[in-house]
Amino acid sequence: DTAVSQTPKYLVTQMGNDKSIKCEQNLGHDTMYWYKQDSKKFLKIMFSYNNKELIINETVPNRFSPKSPDKAHLNLHINSLELGDSAVYFCASTESAETYYGYTFGSGTRLTVV
């Protein structure tokens, strides 16, 4: 059973489009995150939700909007996609933001904007 699953695995889209990436975890964790990994493999945190509440909101263009319908799901919606949005987006979860023991990552979504 996959612990943290992301869909889709690959996403190729044109500039200006709107797209969503979905993430689900079956670990019973309270806290979920979105990270962006650029072409140089640098990882940067974008957002975090703890039990459906937004707790981390880094300096990210407001074209990016996270949504957490319940604590097992964290989706990322991106409006008006730009070339610079091309990256691998990783979802991650941890038991709790208060008792943080490290992340369990999803397999990533490779977004290519053309």
Binding site: Y33, K41, L43, E98, Y101, F105
Partner: protein
């Protein structure tokens, strides 16, 4: 804000050679420290972590890391590498009480020649 520096960007070793990857962090308070591994085409996996206690921590697959507080370092070691250790290695730091927000280093690419 915390920062993480990994000095070796690309390390090339032969099988059975010993490995040491450097990681230094910058933060004045108490931190949790992690090493993650990303095998080619895969997601990040937690190798090992340090929270408190014995500064020498052992992780999976024969890896270990030593926390030296006076040097703000958390170097990763393995006595004898295998071809299957070829991967990207990331050091990460989390300031205690910071909602599980981790700052990652730039990563070190390890290539092990058979």
């Amino acid at each position: 804000a915390q920062s993480v520096s990994q000095h070796n960007h690309h390390v090339i070793l032969s099988e059975a050679a010993s490995l040491e990857l450097g990681c230094n962090y910058s933060y004045g308070g108490t931190v949790n420290l992690f090493w993650y591994v990303q095998y080619p085409g895969q997601h990040l996996q937690l190798l090992l972590k340090y929270f408190s206690g014995d500064p020498l921590v052992k992780g999976i697959k024969g890896f270990e890391a030593e926390f030296i507080k006076s040097k703000f370092s958390f170097n990763l070691r393995k006595p004898s590498v295998q071809w299957s250790d070829t991967a990207e290695y990331f050091c990460a730091v989390n300031a205690r009480g910071n909602a599980g927000k981790s700052t990652f280093g730039d990563g070190t690419t390890l290539t092990v020649k058979p």
